[in-house]
């Protein structure tokens, strides 16, 4: 071990993309605990609204609104984004394309520190007088535009500042991802030899860059309404509340795909490795992804069917929304076809990947209900929607996120995780997640609204209370089951078996480096000879063929 190992050591102010990835990961895991705790408080409140929450106390209605708001904000912006883009994007893009680091290492460091600042601001917002934001994670004005409406003053201002900082951070990150993936590809790494994870990350970066501008403008206007007394959104001053909803969802819906694509990327790296087969239809997947990315810009108003916008606008948006299922259906079929005639083994990453595929399918299919404008009249703002988006975002963030963590943990930290604990973690998570969230569809079809603190205040919801209790028990168990991951993570970090370079016998370039990789990743710049998924290729007797290994025939042909 020479100076490379020393330079590669974890430093707080580091420009090394691998260290930065771990910093994003640490912050995300911290916020995941906070997000989980808010879920615990909400679920207890819904099951036993008249009682004190153990370990906390009585939950007042405005405090409940704060929980609803902060749970969504934390999970989407401070858990999903930093895990899927911050951690995996940063760690994998340079390694997968054979680069020494990101194109702009200092900008990369700035991104993670701006994100840290955003985290600090969000954390502070819990402790200012009036408490944290409570106008929903979507922050619809006028509720969010005047402190008098919620009783929250600086909490909501800081919430907006934290979000703006977060967007700045990921905007810089996206620029870096894109520049790196386009310019720093090693010799032989053509665009169509890129691992699909890189395609997904750069498509996500483009979608994010094109959609986030309007939201930052919207956030600044909302902040001005609150602090300077302007009235962009206040009708009494000539403003228009709907403006916010359009700008928010113009970003907000593409944002769903910004999260989804990297998660699909994780699955597309893992499924071929453990099926020992090439991904089915590489190019079809790339074209579907780009199509979905473009379509994602013209679906936003499906969040506004009942908002008071012109009803004639509903059908065009309903049609684009339902049509966007086609490219994603192709991608899902391609993943299923990848399993066909494979030789499938089931270590923890594969279990989580298969679990993500199986549960995400439910999220996708239930989106057809919410995307249909007439059906939405009834199920909008009910628990059907809550169930639907948890069935999309939990597979994406947690199932795919865990799959990726178990898969790349050896590369990130140089040690293997514990398989037995990993399998326990998967089965508990998979079963309890479905047990907790499936009944929410039933609550939704019975009409139970979102964001109500006490369902017992409504006669038509009282018979449903046993379902609420059932869900809450399952949800608390689901949260407790995550302890198996926490134990595994920290135990493996210290005591796990030392990892070899390529424990999964995978083809992509990151596995040719030591575990963990040196400061500048590669001893010598790799030269790529083929695509990333040549498993069980007829060209070799082995069932894998790394991207940079020249075959004898090719080697002689070159001479």
């Amino acid at each position: 071990m020479g100076e490379g190992a020393v330079a590669g050591k974890m430093r707080i102010f580091s420009t090394d993309h691998k260290t930065i990835a771990k910093q994003y990961l640490s912050l995300a895991l911290f916020w995941a605990v906070m997000g989980g705790f808010t879920a615990y408080l909400m679920r207890w409140q819904l099951a036993y609204p008249e009682s004190e929450v153990p370990g906390w106390g009585f939950i007042a209605p405005d405090f409940y609104n704060m929980l609803v708001t902060m749970h969504g904000t934390i999970m989407v912006f401070f858990v999903a984004m930093p895990i899927l883009l911050g951690a995996f994007g940063n760690f994998l893009i340079p390694l997968m394309i054979g680069a020494r680091d990101m194109a702009f290492p200092r900008l990369n460091m700035l991104s993670v520190w701006v994100f840290t600042l955003a985290s600090a601001v969000l954390l502070v917002s819990f402790f200012v007088p009036g408490g944290a934001a409570s106008a929903g994670w979507t922050g619809y004005p006028p509720l969010s535009a005047r402190p008098a409406y919620t009783g929250v003053d600086w909490g909501l201002n800081l919430w907006l500042v934290a979000l703006a900082l977060e967007f700045v951070s990921f905007l810089m990150g996206g620029v870096n991802f894109l520049t790196t993936a386009i310019n720093l590809r090693t010799r032989g790494m053509t665009f169509f030899r890129l691992p699909l994870m890189v395609w997904m990350q750069i498509t996500a970066a483009v979608i994010f860059m094109l959609s986030v501008g309007p939201l930052i403008a919207a956030a600044v206007m909302l902040l001005m309404d609150r602090i300077l007394g302007t009235s962009f959104y206040l009708p009494e001053g000539g403003g228009q509340p709907l403006l916010w909803q359009h700008l928010f969802w113009f970003f907000g819906h593409p944002e769903v795909y910004v999260l989804l694509l990297p998660a699909l990327g994780i699955l597309m790296e893992i499924l071929p490795v453990f099926s020992r087969k090439p991904i089915f239809g590489y190019r079809a997947i790339v074209y579907s992804t780009i199509t979905a990315g473009i379509l994602s810009f013209i679906v936003w108003a499906h969040h506004l069917f009942l908002s008071g916008m012109n009803p004639r606008l509903a059908m065009p948006f309903s049609i684009t929304t339902i049509i966007i299922s086609v490219p994603f259906a192709l991608i899902v079929f391609a993943m299923i076809a990848t399993l066909w005639r494979g030789s499938i083994s089931f270590p923890t990453p594969m279990l989580f990947a298969a679990g993500a595929l199986a549960t995400f399918l439910i999220g996708g299919l239930t989106g057809i209900f919410t995307g249909s404008a007439p059906v939405d009249i009834y199920i909008h703002d009910t628990h059907f929607v809550v169930a639907h988006f948890h069935y999309t975002l939990v597979p994406v963030t947690f199932f795919a996120g865990f799959a990726g963590l178990y898969f790349w943990f050896p590369k990130m930290f140089g040690r293997m995780t514990n398989e037995a604990l990993g399998k326990i973690h998967f089965w508990l998570t998979f079963l309890l997640f479905n047990i907790a969230f499936m009944p929410m569809f039933v609550l939704g079809t019975r009409g139970m609204m979102r964001r109500i603190a006490n369902p017992m205040q409504y006669e038509f919801l009282q018979p449903l209370q046993p379902v609420n209790v059932f869900i809450s028990i399952a949800a608390v168990l689901l949260l407790l089951a995550q302890l198996s991951f926490v134990v595994n993570f920290f135990w493996s970090l210290v005591r796990g078996k030392a990892a070899e370079r390529n424990p999964w016998r995978a083809n992509t370039l990151e596995w040719t480096t030591p575990s963990p990789p040196l400061h500048h990743n590669f001893e010598t710049a790799p030269v790529v000879c083929r695509g990333p998924y040549e498993y069980s290729s007829p060209e070799t007797d082995e069932d894998w063929l790394p991207q940079d290994r020249p075959l004898a025939a090719q080697a002689t042909a070159r001479q």
């Binding site: 991904i279 499938i344 299919l365 703002d381």
Partner: protein, 223 residues
């Protein structure tokens, strides 16, 4: 199946429910097929000694038909759902029926203010009558509702009538319904509107014709 929803008591509610069931059956079949296929492949093609995976990159057109044809079927089913949806949407939102009576509902933190036009049938006249959280209507008549809000966004929700419509401050939004069965139905707010959102609730009273006459006489006795 049919007890998934609360009992439907509006003229258009059945259309929404049947569209829901149409989507349910279509997606249900896909759910069973795809999940079944995933499970089958995982079990059938699990790793066995001496068996190698087959090299199928799916790059030729012939191979990609395996995903393109199901994709095409998805597209066709999507269009079916879209066209059915467009019909139902047009029926409910496309044109507003004239309406037998007109009621103004103003949402505020955290009540519904219901304004009845009185015997002259006109809002904004001296015989208007305002009630809190009580909406009285006759059965079998088209009721036009004018939704307003004094402060933030609320959402007017009649679960039993499958009606939901946001009330926006600064705007007057029209909605309509025709109840098919007398009774007392809840009328909650469905959009987060502040600390009193949970519990913001009212009642819709659907009266049989003679009961409605009686109720009108009680409210406007001088007539």
């Amino acid at each position: 199946m049919s007890n998934w929803f609360p009992e439907n008591v509006s003229t258009f509610g059945g259309e929404i429910d049947s569209l829901f069931y149409l989507i349910f059956y279509i997606t249900g079949v896909w759910f069973v097929l795809t999940e079944g296929l995933i499970l089958f492949f995982l079990v059938r093609y699990r790793k066995r000694p001496g068996q190698k995976a087959r090299y199928v990159p799916g790059n030729t057109l012939q191979q990609s038909l395996w995903i393109l044809i199901p994709g095409l079927i998805v597209l066709l089913l999507d269009l079916w759902i879209d066209f059915r949806g467009a019909e139902v949407w047009a029926k409910i939102k496309g044109h507003m029926p004239v309406g037998d009576l007109r009621i103004q509902i103003t949402a505020k933190q955290f009540n519904w203010e219901i304004l009845y036009s009185g015997p002259d049938g006109k809002l904004g006249t001296a015989d208007d009558l305002q009630m809190e959280n009580e909406l009285h209507v006759p059965v079998g008549k088209v009721v036009r509702v004018v939704l307003k809000s004094r402060d933030v966004i609320h959402s007017f929700f009649l679960p039993h009538l499958r009606l939901k419509q946001d009330a926006l401050p600064g705007r007057e939004i029209e909605a309509w319904f025709e109840a098919t069965k007398p009774g007392k139905y809840e009328m909650p707010c469905a959009e987060l509107c502040g600390f009193g959102h949970s519990g913001m609730n009212g009642w819709l009273f659907v009266h049989a014709p003679e009961d409605y006459e009686k109720w009108v006489k009680e409210q406007w006795p001088e007539k």
